[in-house]
Structure formats: structure tokens, C-alpha cells
């Protein structure tokens, strides 16, 4: 296994997991923004996706050009098996580390669903 995932990488992978195969940049960004309520940079999104792609955690294929994109093609991403594994590992690390300190983090209750 490669190095541990960064926070933004986890967020993107989780977004892909939610969206299923074929999610493009726009939908990934919207998914993250609508859930976290924070604007993210498209540039940063692609930089990170490229990195994940290079590590084999996600894969992409080129989509068709649409008029709404000014005739430009899009990239559709899918979560790979390795990506899923990496996410699980991150989750394990997180849950192990968070156990017993939930009270201090004030996260004992169920997280609010948007």
C-alpha cells in the first residue's frame, strides 16, 4: 500500500463512491460542495484526481464533447479497487484513533445529514 490518503483525497474518493462510476469533474465538485458547504477549486480537484489516477486509485475515460462545455470533452472518473482499499484503511485508522475521544471532539451523536 502506498502512503496514507490526505484529507482532500479521502473526500474525493468518498464522493466517487457515492456517485458511482462515470462521475465527471463537475458532478464530483458539486457533490463535495453540496455536502460540505465549502467551495472547492476545480484546479485543485483535477490536480488531486491526477495524483490518485497515477497511484491507480481511480481510473478515467474521456467523455463526449457537449455544447454546454463549449465543445470541450470531459473526463469521467471511476473508483478502482485499490481506491476502495485505501479508503477502508483510512477509515480504520480514523476509527481506531477516534475511539474513546468522541466526547472531547463533541461528535457522540449521529452526524447531521444534510
Amino acid at each position: 500500500m502506498g502512503r496514507a490518503l490526505g484529507g482532500f483525497e479521502q473526500t474525493i474518493l468518498l464522493a466517487l463512491l457515492r456517485l458511482g462510476a462515470g462521475a465527471d469533474g463537475v458532478s464530483i465538485r458539486r457533490e463535495i460542495e453540496s455536502r460540505t458547504g465549502q467551495e472547492i477549486s476545480t484546479g485543485a480537484l483535477y490536480t488531486t484526481l491526477e495524483r490518485l489516477d497515477a497511484r491507480g486509485l481511480v481510473s478515467h475515460e474521456l467523455g463526449e464533447a457537449t455544447p454546454v462545455r463549449g465543445g470541450r470533452r470531459k473526463k469521467a472518473y471511476a473508483l478502482e479497487e485499490a481506491g476502495l482499499l485505501a479508503l477502508r484503511e483510512s477509515y480504520d485508522t480514523f476509527s481506531v484513533m477516534v475511539r474513546g475521544v468522541e466526547a472531547q471532539l463533541d461528535v457522540t451523536g449521529e452526524p447531521e445529514t444534510p
Partner: protein, 899 residues
């Protein structure tokens, strides 16, 4: 589909900084979301803001990422001269458009290292560029500050001096105000000196009496309080004053209640009504107080040149100076017709307006342009030298370039590499040059600026720095281009065969270019040397002009009797008599006396004179005389030569017959060869005096101004002025007596301000400070040029010798006499030097007219100066050749053939 477009700049940004698929995908995403936001969510404005934000962040992130990656590139890769496309392939898709930036970065790093490997070459080139750029930046800063930037007044180009700044009567001023519609406002001023009393030790202020609407003309109004009201120019209502900001902050400690306070100027109480804004400084004047000019005729009557007003005006919007001139003409004509005895045709002809800036900078303009021309020539020489250095270097790198070329480096790549090195040289030199310029300007401000009009406005600014940077870059790139282009078509086989080691042949094409450059340098140096020589000779002549009095061992100071005091009859005369009395008690004082205007200070008073019983001959020019009012001791103190009759004596009191002493020029002008003694002349139109003596001529206005008619009157008979210069002849160094002299004057009356204490030698030196300054600066430029040419000559011979070492060695081994070899080496440079000298002589003769107005009694084509300059240059060239020629003579055949 909607026609809404995302912000243009942001789209450009993305197009420029992103490449390939990345650009397509990101731009597509942003476009899609932009349309989505604009149409369905939050409107176009928000969408545009969003797009902009996203675009900048995308580009910014990529810049940072690429920057980090570039720094990590191992340097060795950069030296292979890999082409851009190959680099892009190897760098992977992420590198994209960053290849160009990356290569530039690598070129810079490699260039820096290459420059550091040759500290000698780099140091020389950087220094040469720095000298050229530094001198240019400094001179152009001065030009910019003094000439190009306008004065501190709003719409300064509309502020004009009328009648060339000639003093006019106040009634003329009123007439102009009425009839010249080209003027928005007309006013006038006369400068004066005022004793400020009642605020501690009495001090003398320089100030101006200003006519109404003066502040409208200059367009600057007091920052505190108000300007003068029109009625304040009426006698009796003029007890008001406006202060300079510095005076308010200084002696008055910035008192907040200053407006409304009463101060005493010349003993007269005046209410402060305003304070001028900070930073407002009258041009070329050190005025700190302004008082209203009253409509009262002054003591001397209303004559031109005696107690008049310098007229200034503000042109109405859209009015041209020509229109003003046309409207002035009838007024001038009328004045002339009314006073035919006083005014002549030249008065009418002089009725014109001049821009205040032009009038202010005046004669210094020529000097500055000459210096600018000179410094540009210095820069040209510097360029030629840099070119020579780069050529030499390009030649010595022929082998390296050939190797890289043959290993597959593209020509474009090599040229870019060489150009980068040149640009780096330019930048380094330019940076150092800016430092030099800053240093020069600092020195200039600290030591010279006060002697120069507007000198305090000089400083480095963005324009000038940009200019300097552009000059250095263009110099380096332009002259780096030629060797770089040569590198494109090197004789690969020759270079690789090792013939670079015997560059006698490899460098065949180069010496021609180098020699041309040397000829060019020599020519320009000669022009500059000649110019400097002319100025040096002129200053030398000027300094040896006999002023008509003995300036050594002479101490001078200015006293100004406050006008509120010493008003009773005879009080002033008594004051100056007692000064002489007290001064004569000081050991070391030989003689003393007072005079109204100190020679060499440009101040003077002139008036028309007529001779009694000699009607003015028809058609003869009216004669003006410079009038001095003096006490009896002055002739001895100044050391004037009495040619006949007697000097003014204590017995020439106010009740005695009025007498005057005239100078030779006046005697000649008024009486021709007749004996003037006993004749009666009239001055100011009302003052009749009998000539009792004739003295030799004295240069009163300045050393360069030949003496004109002059008359000396007895102070006791005309004690109208309270401000006089006391002159003290001393037995030894005058400066040592300063404390006791000042103390003696102050002890007589502490309320009388004493100023301008100086030795007459210093006054003389100051009076020719302008010409000394330009001489010094031009000499420095000429020396710089000489130095650079010497470097150029040395460089060329040096290169020839090292390039021909192999050949010389062979010939020496075959028995060629050393003398022949040396002669051959030297003859290579003799031709360009000789040609350069010829061109230089031509140039010097051609440009002679430019410096003509700066010269005093030296012909601009002075053959002696030209000869000296040429010989100096020749000697310098010979000196530069000695070392390399000796090297040629001592080539050891064994060593150079063994390779």
C-alpha cells in the same frame, strides 16, 4: 444555447497557463458550471465572480506546483541542450506549457554558472555596463528633475514671465491686467530681505513683495489661513504677511495659533494671515515670507530697473504665448512713446512672455543637454566594449558550442542560451549601474543641488529606473546577438578538429568587427576629451580673469538695518561709520567699507544716465550705468585702482556737494577722450552729481560679464537703502577673522541681522560654480570614455596576441625577428586607432557649436585643445598596447608548439 461568456481575462489566463487535455477538461468544467450558475442558480454576476475565482486558483495552483518541480530538476540534464519538445515528452503530460518557463529558468541557472566560471570576463562586462548605465541614469535623473518634469505649480506650463523677467513699473502692471485678455491673472513680485525681530536673535529672511493675485498666478494658495486681499495692497492696510511652511514649523515651532499672530519684520508689525503648503518652494528662491506690495511709488521713483516689479502671469485656458505677445506689443509701444528718453526699441521688442520653467532653468539648459549628449556617448563606448568582450568570449567558446551542436543541441536553443547570458549580464550591470546612479545622485543632492536651479527636485524615479534597465538590457542583448548568431554557423569541423586551440585561423572573421568597434571608441573618446578640454580651458581662463579688485584676503558680510529703525536722519550713515570704527580696532583688519551690491553676486542696480549740458546725440544708444552706493572705506577694502581724481571721502556728507566716482567704461561712454573730472552727470532722472574721480573697471555681475559703465555714489548723500555689504580687507587668512568681525558687528546692535559671511575668494568660486560643475562632470565623462577606450584597445591587441600565439611561436621558431612580430601585432591596431582619431577630430569640429555657449573666451575649435586631446588619447592607446605587445615579443616557441 446562451451567449453568456465567462470573463475574458480569466479565459485568457486559462488558455495561457494550462495545456492540452488539462486545459480542455478544466475549462470545460468551469464553462459548464458557469452556464449552470448563470442560468439556473445565482445569475451572471455571481457566475462571473465564481469563474474568475476558480480560474485564478487553478492557474495559481499550477504555477506553484510547476515552480516546485522546476527547482528539483537536476542541473546536469539542462546542459545537454535537449530541445523543448523532447523535454516536454520526458516531463510527462503534466509539464505541458511549462516547458518554456522551465527552460528559461534552466537557461538562467546555467547562464549564471557560466558567468561565474569566468569572473574576469563577467566582472569586466558588468562593470562596463554599470559605468555606462550609472552615468546615464544619473544624468537623465537630473535632466528629468530639472528640465522634463514641470514645476510644482498646477498647470505650470501656463505660468509665464512677462518681459523676460525684466523689472517694470507698477503702473504697467495695472495696464496689463486691464488690456491683456490672454492672461487669466497678472501679478508681480520683487524680492527683498527682511529682519525678523522679537523672536529671539534677529535673523534675516528672504522674501517677496507680491502684487495682488500673485497666488492666483502661481496657482498655489496658503494651506492655512488665506491669500492677500486686493485691498491689502493699499498703503496702511498692508500690515499682513504669509509664511513658508518651513518657517512656521521651524522658528515658530508649528504654533497652531500662528494665523492671527503678529510678527515684526524690519521692525514693522505684521499680522500672519496664511501659511503656504508643505513642500511649496518658490523656484530658485529661498523666500520664506510674502508681504503685499503696496501701490506706493518707492524712494527711487518709478523707473525701469530701479524699483520695479518682475511680472508673472497665468495664461488664460487656451491662450497661446503668441496671443499674449501680440496683446503686449501696443502697451509696450505706448509706454515707449510716453517716455522716449527712457525706453528704446529694445524695450518694445522685449515685450514677450517666456515659460517660467524655461526662464528658470535658463542657461543651465544647454549645459544639461551637452552633458546628456556626452553621457550618451559614454554609453555608446560602453556598449562597444561589451560587444568586444562578448565577441571575444563567443570566439573562445566556439569549441564548446560546436560540441554541443554536434551532440544535437538545436541552434535556437543555443542562441537562446547565449542571449540569456547576455541579458543576465545586462541585468547585473544595470542593477549595479542603478546603485552607482543612486550614489551619484545622493552626492549630487548633498553637495551640488543647492547651486543649481530646481536641484532639489532631482531623484531616482520609476521612469528613470525603467530607462536604465531598458538601456542595459538592450545593450547586452543587442551586442550578445551577433556572437550568438555566429554560434549558429560555426565551422564545426574546424572547431572540432582542435583548431580552436590555434585560433589564429578560427577567429579570422572577428578582428575586423573588433577593430571597427575600437575605431568607434577612439573617435567618441576624442570628441569627449576635446569637449572637456574646451571647458577646462574656459574655466581656467575664467578663473584668471582680473575682476578689477583684489579678492584675496577679503572678508564680506551682509547687514540689513531693520527698516523700522535707523529712520532718523544720519542714523544709517552713523551706523556704518561706527562699524568701520569697530572693525579697524580688530588686529588683522587693514581696511573696511560698505557697498550696496557685492560684486559677483549678480545683484545690481542700473539706471539711465545723462551728462549735464550735453544733449543726447540723435541716434546714439541710451546709456545705462550700474550704480553702487558706498562708504569711503570701500576703495581701499576692495583694492580698486584710482586712475584720476579722488575717491569718496568722509567729507562728502549730506550737505556737501553731491559727488560721484565713475569707472573707465563710463568715462569713455560719457566723455570719450575728454577729462570727466568736474563734469556733472544725472542718474535716476533726478540725482545730479559731480565726477570727482575715475577708477579702473571692475567686474560686478560676474567674472564672465565684461564691465560696463559704473558709478559710485556716497552713502552719506543717498542713504536710501539699509541693506549693505561690509567688506573687510585683512592682513592674513580672512576666514580666521570671521568670529571677531561678526562679533564686532553684532555688538554694535544685536537687532541687526548679519548674513552671507564669506571670504571674497569663496564668493568668486561660487559665482562660477555652474561652469566649474559642468567642467568637472564633463571631465569625468571624458576620463571614463578614455578609460573604456583603453580597455577596448587593450582587449583587441590582447586577443590578437593570444589568438596568434601559435603562429607567432612558429614564426619565432623559424627565426623571425621579434621586432617584426611586435610591429605586425601593433599595426593591426594602429589603423583603427588612426581612423578613429580622424573621425574623432571631424566629430569634435562638427560638434563644436554645441558647447560654444558654455565657453568663455575660448574658440570652440581651439586647435591647441584638440591637439592636446589627440595626443593624450594616442599616449593612452600606446600605453594600452605595451603589455600585450611585450607578451607577443616573449612568446616561447617551445611551449606553444608542444601542445
Amino acid at each position: 444555447m446562451s451567449l453568456r461568456r465567462p470573463p475574458l481575462l480569466s479565459r485568457l489566463l486559462l488558455a495561457v497557463f494550462l495545456r492540452g487535455l488539462e486545459r480542455e477538461v478544466i475549462t470545460g468544467d468551469l464553462e459548464e458550471e458557469f452556464q449552470h450558475l448563470a442560468e439556473r442558480v445565482s445569475g451572471v454576476d455571481h457566475a462571473r465572480r465564481w469563474y474568475r475565482r476558480q480560474a485564478w486558483r487553478a492557474v495559481g495552483g499550477r504555477l506553484l506546483a510547476r515552480g516546485r518541480r522546476l527547482v528539483r530538476i537536476p542541473a546536469e540534464k539542462t546542459m545537454s541542450g535537449r530541445s523543448g519538445r523532447a523535454g516536454a515528452r520526458l516531463g510527462g503530460r503534466a509539464r505541458g506549457g511549462w516547458v518554456i518557463m522551465g527552460e528559461l529558468f534552466r537557461d538562467v541557472r546555467f547562464g549564471l554558472r557560466a558567468l561565474m566560471r569566468q569572473p574576469g570576463f563577467t566582472g569586466a562586462a558588468v562593470l562596463v555596463i554599470a559605468l555606462g548605465v550609472g552615468a546615464n541614469t544619473a544624468v537623465f535623473s537630473i535632466l528629468d528633475g530639472v528640465l522634463l518634469r514641470s514645476l510644482a505649480y498646477p498647470d505650470a506650463e501656463r505660468v509665464v514671465r512677462v518681459w523676460g523677467g525684466r523689472a517694470l513699473s507698477k503702473s504697467t502692471l495695472a495696464e496689463m491686467r486691464e488690456n491683456v485678455t490672454a492672461f487669466e491673472a497678472v501679478s508681480g513680485f520683487s524680492s527683498g530681505r527682511y529682519a525678523l525681530t522679537g523672536e529671539g536673535q534677529a535673523s534675516e529672511m528672504s522674501g517677496a513683495e507680491v502684487a495682488p493675485s500673485y497666488f492666483d498666478v502661481i496657482g498655489v494658495r496658503p494651506a492655512l489661513g488665506r491669500a492677500f486681499l486686493p485691498e491689502e495692497s493699499e498703503p496702511g492696510r498692508d500690515g499682513v504677511v504669509i509664511l513658508a511652511y518651513d518657517l512656521w514649523r521651524g522658528p515658530f515651532a508649528g504654533a497652531p495659533d500662528i494665523v492671527g499672530r503678529t510678527i515684526r519684520l524690519d521692525g514693522v508689525p505684521r499680522t500672519v494671515v496664511g501659511v503656504m503648503p508643505e513642500g511649496y518652494r518658490p523656484v530658485r528662491r529661498s523666500w520664506t515670507v510674502w508681504v503685499p506690495q503696496t501701490a506706493d511709488p518707492t524712494d527711487f521713483g518709478d523707473w525701469e530697473g530701479t524699483a520695479g516689479t518682475v511680472v508673472v502671469a497665468r495664461l488664460a485656458p487656451g491662450a497661446t504665448p503668441e496671443r499674449a505677445d501680440a496683446q503686449l506689443a501696443p502697451i509696450a509701444q505706448a509706454i515707449r512713446d510716453e517716455n522716449p528718453d527712457v525706453y528704446g526699441d529694445e524695450f518694445v521688442a522685449a515685450a514677450t512672455v517666456t515659460s517660467l520653467q524655461r526662464a528658470t532653468v535658463g542657461s543651465f539648459r544647454t549645459t544639461l543637454w551637452v552633458l546628456a549628449g556626452a553621457v550618451t556617448l559614454v554609453l555608446l563606448i560602453a556598449c562597444a566594449n561589451v560587444a568586444n568582450l562578448l565577441l571575444a568570449k563567443g570566439e573562445s567558446r566556439g569549441h564548446e558550442l560546436a560540441v554541443r551542436r554536434s551532440l544535437g543541441a538545436s541552434g535556437r536553443r543555443l542562441v537562446r542560451q547565449l542571449m540569456t547570458e547576455s541579458a543576465l549580464l545586462g541585468l547585473l550591470g544595470g542593477g549595479l549601474g542603478c546603485g552607482l546612479a543612486w550614489l551619484t545622485l545622493w552626492t549630487f543632492r548633498e553637495h551640488v543641488a543647492t547651486a543649481l536651479p530646481l536641484g532639489d527636485r532631482v531623484g531616482l524615479n520609476g521612469t528613470v529606473l525603467g530607462f536604465a534597465l531598458a538601456v542595459s538590457l538592450v545593450t547586452a542583448i543587442l551586442f550578445g546577438l551577433w556572437p550568438a548568431l555566429r554560434a549558429l554557423r560555426p565551422d564545426l569541423r574546424a572547431s572540432l578538429r582542435g583548431e580552436a586551440r590555434s585560433p589564429g585561423r578560427a577567429g579570422v572573421g572577428r578582428p575586423g568587427m573588433s577593430r571597427t568597434l575600437v575605431a568607434f571608441e577612439v573617435a567618441i573618446s576624442l570628441v569627449l576629451l576635446t569637449g572637456a578640454g574646451l571647458l577646462i580651458k574656459s574655466t581656467w581662463v575664467l578663473q584668471r580673469v582680473d575682476p578689477g579688485f583684489r579678492s584675496e584676503d577679503l572678508l564680506t558680510l551682509h547687514v540689513n538695518l531693520p527698516s523700522g529703525r535707523y529712520e532718523e536722519e544720519g542714523a544709517r550713515v552713523e551706523y556704518f561709520r561706527r562699524i568701520d570704527e569697530r572693525l579697524s580696532a580688530i588686529p588683522g583688519v587693514v581696511a573696511s567699507g560698505s557697498i550696496s551690491f557685492l560684486p559677483m553676486t549678480s545683484q545690481h542696480m542700473s539706471t539711465l544716465f545723462t551728462v549735464k549740458d550735453r544733449p543726447k546725440r540723435e541716434g546714439s544708444p541710451r546709456e545705462y550705468a550700474m550704480v553702487q552706493v558706498t562708504t569711503p572705506g570701500v576703495a581701499r577694502a576692495l583694492g580698486m585702482d584710482l586712475l584720476g581724481g579722488r575717491w569718496i571721502e568722509p567729507s562728502d556728507g549730506k550737505d556737501a556737494p553731491r559727488v560721484c566716482v565713475i569707472n573707465q567704461a563710463m568715462s569713455k561712454a560719457a566723455f570719450g577722450d575728454d577729462d570727466p573730472l568736474g563734469e556733472e552727470i544725472q542718474l535716476f532722472g533726478w540725482f545730479n552729481a559731480t565726477v570727482v574721480g575715475v577708477v579702473s573697471d571692475m567686474r560686478e555681475i560676474g567674472l564672465a560679464r565684461p564691465p560696463g559703465p559704473g558709478a559710485f555714489l556716497a552713502y552719506a548723500q543717498l542713504p536710501g537703502v539699509g541693506a549693505m555689504y561690509v567688506t573687510v580687507r585683512t592682513a592674513g587668512a580672512p576666514r580666521e577673522l570671521i568670529p571677531s568681525v561678526v562679533e564686532a558687528v553684532a555688538a554694535l546692535d544685536g537687532d541687526v541681522p548679519v548674513s552671507q559671511v564669506a571670504s571674497m575668494d569663496d564668493v568668486l568660486r561660487l559665482s562660477i560654480a555652474d561652469s566649474r560643475l559642468s567642467t568637472a562632470v564633463l571631465s569625468i565623462f571624458a576620463l571614463l570614455a578614455l578609460l573604456l577606450s583603453v580597455v577596448g584597445v587593450y582587449g583587441v591587441i590582447s586577443f590578437t596576441v593570444s589568438a596568434r600565439t601559435y603562429e607567432i611561436g612558429v614564426r619565432a621558431a623559424l627565426g623571425a625577428p621579434r621586432g617584426t612580430v611586435v610591429r605586425e601585432v601593433l599595426s593591426g591596431i594602429a589603423v583603427p586607432v588612426a581612423l578613429g582619431m580622424l573621425a574623432g577630430i571631424g566629430g569634435a569640429l562638427g560638434l563644436a557649436r554645441m558647447v560654444e555657449s558654455l565657453l568663455y573666451e575660448v574658440h570652440p575649435r581651439d586647435p591647441a585643445v584638440l591637439a592636446v586631446a589627440a595626443v593624450a588619447l594616442l599616449l593612452a592607446a600606446v600605453a594600452a598596447s605595451v603589455a600585450p605587445a611585450r607578451r607577443a615579443a616573449s612568446v616561447d616557441p617551445v611551449r606553444c608548439l608542444k601542445v
